[in-house]
Amino acid sequence: MRLMYFSEAIDDALAQAMVEDPNIIVFGEDVLLLRRNLLARFGPARVRGTPISESAFLGAGVAAAMAGLRPVVEVWQVDFLSVGLDALINHAAKLEAFTHGNWTAPIVVRVPCGGGYGDGGQHEQSLWGWLAHIPGLSIVVPSTPADAGRLMLSALRQDGPVVFFEHKLLSEIYLAALGSGGRESVQFDVPAEGNRGPVPDKWAPLPLGEAIIRRDGGDLSLISIGVGVHRALEAAQALGKDGVSAQVLDLRTIQPIDKFQVCQAAAKTGHVLIIDEDYEGFGLSGELAAILLEAGISVKYARVCTQTTIPYAQQLEKQMLPNTECIIASAKSLLVG
């Protein structure tokens, strides 16, 4: 066991995979800065910078994957995928279907996501539920360093495209690069266990589609992903003091999604609260509701999600993103109502 930061763990697992598989290459804007440690170890042929041409380099990544490489393509923030989505939506995601399973594009798209450090509405989106709508993409959203590294390893072994979300509030690299820069006067509400934690000495893949219970409880199931998991854990602890026993389920990946554990958790407590930092409507929280109803599980249900465009001002930003107080309040009214 070693202790690692979140992005350090991802890069470490990635490095292990790169040693084993010479076809893994990494590229994206400014990766010479972001992945300088990989650059120094694997050289510039395998770690490349790109112009600010997301459409071209994402599309190139998909095609390179079709032609035998295993590219890990980085985009500065998930918000900026908006300028290069075609490669993912219409090409990577559809190839397997178009070829009746004959051809796939094993690309990993690494995207920082999420808010809580003051960049506002065009830079702090989550969008995992949005991308999950498109059949053919795997969607991974780890919440701890150990999961992050292990899921990166799995992502690198998938046949098809994987979007790997790296929450900026967990990532020491992005926080330093984006949020705080050269100052020590700011402090973000970084979940400690998410930011740094024990990781295995040698990385082993964690299969996609396996949720995990982070905390057991009998009254209420909090289902979440990414930073939301840590907020849920904090809320569960507070609720515990008030005599409410809350379970916390971390989905870890939403495509595939662990329907079995979702249903089990819901059936156990009969009360489900979804915590999702992505937008509320037409996303993960809705899909979970559908999964429950389809399974014929009747529960009390509520959701704490991001309602609309994230405002810049610190206080407003905090209120907009799912936070512990909100979760506690919703949990209580769900149990009462």
């Binding site: 076809n23 290459i25 042929a45 490349r48 790109t50 112009p51 041409s53 459409s55 071209a56 380099f57 994402l58 599309g59 190139a60 990544g61 998909v62 095609a63 390179a64 994957a65 079709m66 032609a67 035998g68 490489l69 290069g84 075609d86 490669a87 219409n90 090409h91 559809k94 190839l95 279907a97 178009f98 070829t99 009746h100 004959n102 051809w103």
Partner: protein, 340 residues
């Protein structure tokens, strides 16, 4: 360069696509259908030079390229017929043709061939040294950001890409003078890519320019852009309205003009001057099509090549016969169990 071999490729492609057109007319092929008839010289001039390991990114008009690459024509036709034993199990259709073993992939998204060829070429750099990647696309695509980006990226990474622009002067009903400014050569140069203008009706010229570009790419010289002019004999796609009007004016013209005139006359709206300007644009579209370049035999690359090959009419006849036999066999093989 073997003109006879190129002619055979072009001829077979033409016959194949003409057969496709008939099947489409009979309703056996669904959806849109973009033929490549008229651009065979461009495709043949390039594709005939590809080797195993070379890759191809094709746009919505990819049938000829797939055929000439040596991909099973029966599987190709069955794909268009939507059959389980088609090239892609009937899942793709004519705009989404794929052959993994040939590293050949189509796309119905205008401009997507650019990034795709860049990715293919990137993989070649690692896995198949001295291999190249071709991108086929139209002049309309040269206004699409991702294609422009991909030229620059290919240049920055010095990748073995040949960007093959098939400029037919139309993007559906939009003509270059309405949609683009600046000189194409300058545009391409300004994105760092070597530019060569080619007469796309002359397979000889395409082959030669292609040969240089491919050689350059294979030896680490980076990307080249070949700008080839051509005429699409069936217009944008089968059933293309403007061409229909031109070809059967008595039946088709009223369908178009009556509603337009009715709208022109309706109360409320633009001034007479504005309305007339609008009418003029519609008429000029019709007019451009009426002066149908397809009527000039010189715009058909196959007829042009035949003229040169007439030096040996016996052999020409033989090649024609072989092509016909081959494509007929393809047709009957593909149509087994389909024709009613």
């Amino acid at each position: 360069m073997d003109l006879w071999m190129l002619y055979a490729l072009m001829k077979k492609s033409r016959l194949f696509e003409e057969a496709v057109a008939q099947l489409w007319q009979r309703g056996l092929i669904s959806g849109e259908m973009h033929l490549g008839t008229g651009e065979e010289a461009i495709i043949a001039g390039i594709v005939s030079q590809l080797m195993p390991g070379d890759a191809m990114a094709v746009d919505h008009r990819g049938t000829a390229a797939f055929l000439m690459r040596g991909i099973d024509p029966v599987a190709l036709l069955r794909e268009m017929l939507g059959r389980e034993d088609g090239l892609c199990g009937g899942r793709g259709g004519h705009m989404h043709l794929y052959s993994k073993e040939h590293l050949a992939a189509s796309s119905g998204i205008v401009g997507a061939a650019g990034p795709r060829a860049v990715g293919f070429a990137l993989a070649a750099q690692y896995l198949r040294p001295a291999s190249v990647a071709i991108a086929f696309f139209g002049e309309g695509a040269m206004n699409q950001g991702m294609l422009l980006e991909s030229l620059n990226l290919a240049a920055v990474w010095n990748l073995p890409v040949i960007f093959v622009c098939k400029d037919d002067g139309w993007a559906i009903i939009t003509q270059p003078q309405e949609a683009a400014r600046g000189d194409m050569g300058e545009r391409v140069h300004g994105l760092g890519v070597n530019y060569v203008a080619v007469d796309g009706l002359d397979v000889d010229a395409v082959w030669s320019a292609g040969s240089q570009a491919i050689e350059r790419a294979r030896t680490g010289g980076g990307p080249t852009f070949l700008h080839n002019r051509c005429v699409h004999l069936e217009g944008h796609f089968l059933g293309y309205e403007l061409l229909r009007v031109t070809r059967r004016p008595f039946q088709e013209l009223p369908k178009l003009t009556v509603p337009v005139l009715r709208s022109f006359l309706r109360k409320g709206g633009g001034s007479l001057k504005e309305r007339l300007a609008g009418m003029k644009m519609i008429l000029s579209k019709l007019w451009s099509t009426m002066r149908d370049p397809r009527e000039d035999e010189n715009n058909d690359p196959i007829i042009r090549l035949r003229q040169r090959l007439m030096v040996d009419p016996g052999r020409l006849n033989e090649v024609d016969q072989n092509a016909l036999t081959e494509i007929s066999a393809v047709l009957s093989a593909a149509l087994v169990e389909v024709t009613r």
